[in-house]
């Protein structure tokens, strides 16, 4: 369980190819970072994992993405089931336009949990992301009133409340102030060992701090993939060396 493998994935936006022959197996219950400069296809790759990519009608996808050994693009696959097993933490925190409580409860209600259960899980999740003490007095207040960092923590609580196996983070700290970003990073680090986390980042230092496994992309191609120690210690490809030395990108 908790494994995600990509086999020979190709993605086109119209006539332009955004991903070329991607092959990678993400280690289970570890943090993998996909790094690379803007426009290299790392967000496209991430969005292909929960089939959000196909909301764009121009997109054509070929290849396989295996979730626990089963291709999520196979005909007859239930997209909704796939998406509820793969959580997403977006780049910009997006609280749903409802109360703090309802934000976390939304996914649980979809799953048909009963009221008591929902209240318990909401509290547990808000505690887990360190938000409970700050919001317990105003659970009914609109979530949009929270600060950016609080909003992102709320989004994390909302995502984890539905118990996904895989957590996708799309530059989830990029829009936050340094302190809030550090808070989210610490939370992600604490989740290591429980979830398979795949994060996209353009911040090499963040990848260095967090990742167990690193994937480096360049112009839609996967240049190098390796365990973090190896990747940062002895990068093999010239492009990788140049990128890590910040000569390109």
């Amino acid at each position: 369980m908790y494994s995600l493998t990509v086999q020979n994935l190709n993605v086109w936006y119209g006539k332009q190819q955004a991903l070329k022959n991607i092959d990678v197996a993400f280690p289970e219950r570890r943090i993998s970072a996909i790094i690379g400069p803007s426009g290299c296809g790392k967000s496209t790759l991430l969005k292909s994992f929960n089939r959000l990519l196909e909301l764009n009608e121009q997109v054509r996808i070929e290849g396989r993405v295996l979730l626990d050994g089963e291709d999520i693009y196979a005909p007859g696959v239930d997209v909704v089931a796939v998406r509820s097993r793969i959580g997403l933490l977006a780049q910009k925190p997006f609280p749903l336009p409802m109360s703090i409580f309802d934000n976390v409860a939304y996914g649980l209600r979809l799953q048909g949990r009963n009221k008591r259960e929902i209240a318990e899980v909401v509290e547990a999740q808000l505690r887990a992301v360190g938000l409970w003490e700050e919001v317990k007095e105003r659970l009914k207040a609109p979530a949009t009133g929270l600060s950016g960092g609080q909003q992102q923590r709320l989004c994390l609580a909302r995502t984890l409340a539905v118990r996904p196996e895989i957590l996708l983070c799309d530059e989830s700290t990029a829009s936050l102030d340094p302190l809030s970003a550090r808070g989210i990073e610490e939370l992600l680090a604490a989740l290591r060992g429980h979830y398979t986390i795949i994060m996209v980042t353009h911040d090499i230092d963040q990848a260095r701090r967090l990742a167990d496994y690193v994937v480096f992309m360049w112009l839609g191609e996967l240049v190098e993939k390796a365990p973090a120690a190896e990747f940062f210690g002895a990068p093999r490809a010239e492009l990788t060396q140049a990128y890590l030395a910040r000569r390109i990108g």
């Binding site: 929960n50 959000l52 909301l55 009608e57 909704v80 089931a81 998406r83 509820s84 793969i86 959580g87 997403l88 977006a90 910009k92 997006f94 749903l96 336009p97 409802m98 939304y106 996914g107 979809l110 799953q111 609109p142 989004c155 909302r158 995502t159 539905v162």
Partner: protein
């Protein structure tokens, strides 16, 4: 330009401005602002003037309120009961809104959330075209198609079933011209309007909301429902109010199919006589019947006030909804 030259350009700080140009720009800025402010006040002034004129002209009949309170319309006898016309307007609008609102909202939601970009590309202009079709065309089509349909098919069918239980559905009028015909024509007229506005409002919901909900494992319908409830509801309300205003004030198309009989309708097949039709039909033929003119002005004032009140009420509700989001 060499690289050195372009670099020297970068080092010349401070905007080079002649005082005259600056002054002219500032003057222009002030003038444009003032001009637009004036136009804005003109709009408000227009509404005030309309209300004032209608109020003043309906003052004579308001002084003799007992004339209005009558339930019959006999201008020659000095009886100006507006009640049948008010009832007619309400019946026609109610039928139209009952028929159009929910299907139109669903249709707008479908267009925004379910159709492909390509389908929308030709469906949207078509819809806008329908909004712009002149009301007389709707009226004619009502006469040629809706009225016979009601007369020959819907009337007998409804009368035989629902009509046996509820007097409201009894076919009292074999001509086909009546409340239902007008309601159907108005429903057809308001339908594209509500669809268009609903679609617009739904499309303006942030894409990230859609992605967030789907990523949480919501189905398409659950996503759509959540967007309607939590992001688009005020806009959808506005769409319905717009539809109501159009239906309540529509004159020509209604006049052509409603039968124009000054009695309060008791069945949806009854002929009726809504306020706008009353004004349009009679204003040029009042001859010199005393107070006739004033009574019609009163009818117009009533129309204006109802639409105003409805809009203000809707705005209050929308404001509250927006604040809750």
């Amino acid at each position: 330009m060499t690289r050195e030259e372009s670099l020297t350009l970068l080092t010349q700080a401070g905007a080079v401005q002649s005082g005259v140009t600056m002054q002219r720009r500032r003057l222009f800025d002030v003038a444009v602002g003032a001009g637009m402010r004036m136009l804005q006040w003109l709009v408000i002034l227009l509404l005030l003037m309309m209300t004032a004129t209608l109020s003043m002209r309906s003052l004579p009949i308001l002084r003799q309120l007992e004339l209005l309170r009558s339930h019959v319309w006999q201008p020659m006898a000095g009886r100006f009961g507006l009640a049948p016309f008010i009832a007619g307007s309400m019946a026609v609008t109610a039928v139209a809104m009952a028929l159009a609102t929910i299907p139109a909202i669903l249709c707008g939601v479908y267009m925004a959330e379910y159709t492909s970009t390509r389908t929308r590309a030709w469906l949207k202009p078509l819809l806008d075209l329908l909004v712009g079709v002149p009301s007389v065309v709707y009226g004619l089509w009502g006469v040629l198609f809706v009225v016979p349909l009601i007369r020959d098919r819907i009337g007998p069918a409804v009368d035989a079933t629902l009509g046996q239980m509820l007097p409201f559905f009894r076919q009292t009028n074999p001509s086909g011209y009546g409340v239902l015909a007008a309601g159907v024509v108005l429903a057809l007229m308001t339908f594209p309007l509500i669809v268009a506005v609903t679609e617009e409002v739904m499309r303006s919901a942030p894409q990230q909301m859609r992605e967030t909900l789907l990523a949480l494992g919501a189905t398409r319908w659950e996503t759509t429902k959540c967007i309607v409830r939590h992001a688009a509801l005020p806009g959808v309300m506005a769409a319905v109010v717009l539809g109501f205003s159009r239906a309540f004030g529509e004159t020509l198309a209604v006049m052509m199919v409603v039968g124009n009989a000054p009695r309060a309708p008791t069945s949806i097949f009854d002929a009726a006589y809504p306020l706008p039709a009353l004004i349009a039909n009679n204003y040029s033929e009042m001859m010199s019947v005393p107070l006739y003119d004033s009574a019609l002005m009163m009818a117009a004032l009533f129309l204006l006030v109802v639409v105003l009140c409805f809009n203000v009420m809707a705005r209050l509700v929308i404001h509250r909804l927006t604040r809750q989001l």
